[in-house]
C-alpha cells in the first residue's frame, strides 16, 4: 500500500514537472510571437520618404524603415531552361465564338515545329455535346496544366513544369514509356513512332552550333520520344507570340501573362480577368483538377455558320503530307 502510494506520488510529480515545463515553454513562445505581431516602430527619425505601393497610391514611410531590396544581378545569366522565365505565368484564351476552322493555326504550328508525324500538335475538333445542342469548332493545344498529370507520372523527369507555367519535354531524357500520353486527359501528346523526317530543319535553323534543349520545341525531334505543343518558348523569349496566335486570321487565340492580367491576339490587348468575366470563360474539364492554363470562351453569337468551316474539315488528317 505504502509503496503504491509512493509510486503514484512519484508519477504525479513527474507528470507535473513535465507539464509545467511545457507550459513555460509555450508561454514563452506565445509571448515571443505576440511581441512580433504587435511590433510598432518605436523609433522616429523624423525624415519621411514618399513611396508608391502596389495599388498605385503614394504613401509616406519613415526613412529608417526603408531598406533597399537586393536585386540579383545575374537574373538573365542564371536563366534555367527547366525553371523558366522568372515572374511570368503564361496563359492562353481561346474564343470559340470566333473559330471558323480556318486551320491556319495548325498549318503554322506544323510548319514552325517541323511536325512530320501523322498527328498535329494543335487540332481543331468538330464538337457537339448532344444532338440538340449547337456544333462548334474547338482548337485544342497543350493545356499546360498547373497540376499536370503527365509530369506526375513521368518516371525520369523528362517532362517538367516550369515556374512560368510551361510544361515541356526534354527529349534527351525521355525513355519513351508513353505513360504521360496515357495520363493526359486531353490526348494532346504525340509520339515519334519513326525517325522524324526533319531533314530541312538543319538548313533552316543552322543547327550546327545549337545544342538541343526543350526550349526549342525539342528540335530536332527524336525517334522513340514524346512531343507536344510547347507554347513556343523560343518565340516568347523574343517577345513574340506563339505561331498559332499570329497565324489565326480570326483572332481566336489570345496569349499573355496572368500576372500582368493581359492577353493579346496581336490585334487587340485585353484584361484577362475582365475578358473571362464578361464572356464567361471556362477551362476544359475543370472537374478533373488539372488546372489548365488555357481558357475557353463559349461559342456564343457566332457570325458565321458552322457549316462553312466543314469545307476545311479533314477527319483523318491534321498534317499535310507532300504528294
Amino acid at each position: 500500500m505504502g509503496k503504491e502510494n509512493k509510486n503514484t506520488r512519484r508519477k504525479f510529480l513527474d507528470k507535473g514537472l513535465k507539464l509545467g515545463f511545457i507550459t513555460a515553454l509555450s508561454g514563452f513562445g506565445i509571448s515571443k510571437v505576440a511581441s512580433k505581431l504587435n511590433a510598432t516602430p518605436n523609433h522616429d527619425s523624423g525624415s519621411k520618404m514618399e513611396l508608391m505601393n502596389t495599388n498605385g497610391d503614394i504613401i509616406q514611410v519613415d526613412s529608417t524603415d526603408v531598406t533597399p531590396v537586393e536585386h540579383s544581378s545575374d537574373h538573365d545569366k542564371k536563366y534555367n531552361v527547366r525553371e523558366g522565365m522568372p515572374n511570368r505565368k503564361f496563359v492562353m484564351v481561346v474564343d470559340l465564338a470566333k473559330c471558323k476552322n480556318a486551320l491556319a493555326c495548325q498549318s503554322a504550328c506544323n510548319k514552325h515545329h517541323y511536325v512530320t508525324g501523322d498527328n498535329a500538335w494543335i487540332k481543331v475538333y468538330n464538337m457537339q455535346e448532344s444532338k440538340d445542342t449547337a456544333p462548334y469548332w474547338m482548337p485544342v493545344t497543350c493545356q499546360h496544366c498547373d497540376q499536370p498529370a503527365c509530369v506526375t507520372v513521368c518516371p525520369v523527369d523528362a517532362t517538367f513544369k516550369r515556374k512560368d507555367g510551361l510544361v515541356l519535354i526534354d527529349n534527351e531524357r525521355c525513355i519513351g514509356c508513353r505513360f504521360c500520353m496515357a495520363a493526359c486527359p486531353y490526348s494532346i501528346r504525340v509520339f515519334n513512332w519513326s525517325e522524324p523526317d526533319q531533314g530541312e530543319i538543319y538548313v533552316d535553323m543552322d543547327m550546327s552550333h545549337h545544342t538541343p534543349t526543350p526550349e526549342h520545341a525539342g528540335k530536332p525531334s527524336k525517334m522513340g520520344t514524346v512531343d507536344k505543343c510547347d507554347f513556343c518558348p523560343h518565340a516568347i523569349k523574343n517577345n513574340e507570340l506563339p505561331h498559332c496566335v499570329t497565324a489565326c486570321p480570326n483572332g481566336v487565340f489570345y496569349f499573355g501573362d496572368k500576372y500582368e492580367d493581359t492577353v493579346t491576339n496581336g490585334d487587340e490587348s485585353l484584361r484577362l480577368s475582365k475578358l473571362l468575366e464578361d464572356k464567361a470563360g471556362y477551362r476544359y474539364m475543370e472537374a478533373l483538377g488539372t488546372e489548365p492554363s488555357v481558357y475557353y470562351l463559349p461559342p456564343t453569337d457566332r457570325l458565321v455558320d458552322f457549316n462553312d468551316g466543314l469545307e476545311n474539315y479533314t477527319e483523318y488528317e491534321s498534317v499535310a503530307k507532300p504528294e
Binding site: 498527328n119 507520372v153 525520369v156 513512332w193 522513340g224 483523318y316
Partner: protein, 438 residues
C-alpha cells in the same frame, strides 16, 4: 516403401528425350524469329508495331501484365499453402517457383521491349522520381525476383548435395556444378536450422511482395484519368486475376512435366484434385471482382463509361470479353465443381483455356480503354481508331513466351522438380505412422 536410391533415381533430373529436343529446337527458332523482329524494331522505331498515339500501349503491355500475373503463383502457392500447413503442396511448389522465376524475368524483359528508347532504360534508375508508378515497378520487380530466387534456392540445397553424390561417377562435370551450388551442404543440424529459418523468412516475405507487385501493376493503370482504368477496384482485381492466371499456368505446367518426366507416382490425381479446387476458388474470387469492375459502372454509368462498357458488352470487343468471362471463368468453375472435372487430363484442358483467357483478359484491359479518350479521335489516320497487333508484335510476343518456356524447360531439365529430400522425409514419416499404428 521405396529405398533412398529409388527415390533419387526417380526424381533426379533426366536427360532430354528426343521429343524434348525437338521442343527445345522449336523454342529456339521462335525466340530467334522474335529477336530478329526486335532488332528491326530498335532500328526503325516502334513504327513496326500497330501502336499509335491513341492505342499507345498494346500487346507488349498485355504481355507484361500477364507475366507479372503469372509470377504471382510462386507467392500464392508457396506462401499460402505453407502458412496454412497444406501438405499436398510438396510436389508442386518447386514447379510453381520455377514458373514464377521465369515469369518475373520475362516481365522485366517485356517492359523494356515496349520502351521507345530502350537505350535509356537505365535512366529509370539514374533519374528515378519516386512519384511515378513506373519507379515503384522498377523497385518491386527486382526485389520480387530476388525473393523468388531465394525461395527456389534455399529448399534446393539438400537436393543439390544429393545430386552431387548421384552424378559423381556418371557425370563428374555436372556433379561438380551441383557440388558448388549446394554450398557445401552436409545436412548437419546447424545447417538444417539455418536453412529452415531462411525458408521461413523468405516465405513470409514473398506473400506481401507478391501482393505489392500485383497492386503496383494495377496502379500503373488506375493512376490515370482513363475511363475503365481509374478504378478503386483495380488492386484486388489484379491480385485475384493473378491468382487465376498463376494457378492455371501451374496446372498446365505440372501436367506436362509429370507426363514428360514420368512422375505419375509423385504427382497423383489427388494433387490435381486439390489444385482443381484451388483454381475454382481463384476463379470465383476473380468473378466477384469482375462483377465489381463492370456491373456497378454499368448501373450508374456516365456517358464515357457507357461507351466503354458498350464496346465490351455488345460492341467491338464483345467476343473477347465474353470469351474471357464465360470461357475463362464461369465454364471452368462449373467443370471444376465435378470430381471428374478435376482429373488430370480434364484439368489440363481447363488450365489451357484459363491461361489463354487470362492473356486475352489483359488485352481487353489495356486496349479498349485507350481507344475511348475524352476528346474525340479526329485528325489522325482512320486506322488509328482501332488496334490489332502487327506481325512484329506477334513475333516478339511469341518469342517472349518461348523464352519463358525455355527458362522453364532448362530449369526443369537440371533441377529436381519434386523436392527429393523432402519427399523422402515425408515418406519416412508416413511409414513410421503406419507401422506405429499397426
Amino acid at each position: 516403401m521405396k529405398s533412398r536410391e529409388q527415390f533419387i533415381q526417380d526424381l533426379a533430373p533426366k536427360k532430354f528425350t528426343k521429343a524434348e529436343k525437338i521442343w527445345l529446337g522449336l523454342l529456339i527458332v521462335v525466340i530467334f524469329a522474335g529477336f530478329l523482329a526486335y532488332v528491326d524494331q530498335v532500328r526503325s522505331g516502334l513504327q513496326v508495331t500497330n501502336l499509335n498515339d491513341y492505342a499507345l500501349w498494346g500487346i507488349y503491355i498485355s504481355n507484361f501484365v500477364f507475366f507479372i500475373a503469372t509470377s504471382f503463383v510462386g507467392a500464392a502457392t508457396v506462401a499460402i499453402l505453407r502458412l496454412t500447413q497444406n501438405a499436398w503442396r510438396t510436389p508442386l511448389v518447386r514447379i510453381a517457383e520455377i514458373i514464377s522465376l521465369a515469369a518475373i524475368i520475362m516481365a522485366g524483359v517485356t517492359i523494356i521491349i515496349d520502351l521507345g528508347r530502350p537505350d535509356r532504360a537505365l535512366y529509370t534508375i539514374i533519374y528515378a522520381r519516386f512519384q511515378s508508378p513506373i519507379t515503384w515497378d522498377v523497385i518491386i520487380i527486382p526485389t520480387y525476383l530476388v525473393a523468388i530466387f531465394f525461395l527456389l534456392y534455399f529448399p534446393l540445397l539438400p537436393d543439390l548435395a544429393i545430386l552431387k553424390e548421384f552424378y559423381k561417377k556418371t557425370n563428374p562435370r555436372l556433379s561438380k556444378w551441383y557440388g558448388k551450388l549446394s554450398l557445401n551442404w552436409k545436412g548437419s543440424a546447424v545447417q538444417k536450422a539455418l536453412q529452415q529459418k531462411s525458408i521461413k523468412i523468405i516465405a513470409v516475405l514473398v506473400l506481401p511482395l507478391g501482393l505489392i507487385l500485383q497492386t503496383i501493376d494495377a496502379w500503373l493503370f488506375s493512376s490515370t484519368y482513363r475511363i475503365g482504368w481509374n478504378s478503386t477496384n483495380f488492386g484486388p482485381y489484379f491480385i485475384s486475376g493473378a491468382f487465376v492466371a498463376g494457378v492455371a499456368t501451374l496446372v498446365v505446367t505440372i501436367f506436362m512435366v509429370r507426363k514428360v518426366k514420368g512422375l505419375e507416382e509423385y504427382i497423383t490425381d489427388y494433387h490435381f484434385d486439390k489444385m482443381g479446387k484451388f483454381l475454382a476458388l481463384a476463379c470465383l474470387i476473380y468473378l466477384y471482382f469482375n462483377a465489381n469492375e463492370y456491373l456497378m459502372p454499368a448501373y450508374a454509368s456516365t456517358v464515357n463509361e457507357g461507351i466503354h462498357l458498350e464496346t465490351l458488352f455488345t460492341g467491338h470487343y464483345s467476343t473477347i470479353f465474353w470469351f474471357v468471362t464465360i470461357g475463362g471463368l464461369i465454364v471452368p468453375v462449373i467443370i471444376l465443381m465435378f470430381k471428374k472435372g478435376r482429373s488430370p487430363v480434364v484439368m489440363f484442358w481447363v488450365g489451357m483455356l484459363v491461361v489463354l483467357a487470362s492473356w486475352w483478359k489483359r488485352y481487353i484491359i489495356v486496349t479498349p480503354t485507350l481507344l475511348h479518350p475524352y476528346l474525340p479521335i479526329q485528325g489522325v489516320p482512320e486506322s488509328w481508331r482501332d488496334y490489332f497487333p502487327s506481325l512484329h508484335e506477334w513475333l516478339i510476343t511469341g518469342s517472349n513466351l518461348a523464352t519463358a518456356l525455355l527458362i522453364l524447360t532448362l530449369l526443369v531439365r537440371y533441377l529436381p522438380v519434386v523436392a527429393i529430400q523432402r519427399t523422402m522425409d515425408e515418406s519416412a514419416l508416413e511409414n513410421k505412422a503406419k507401422t506405429g499404428e499397426s
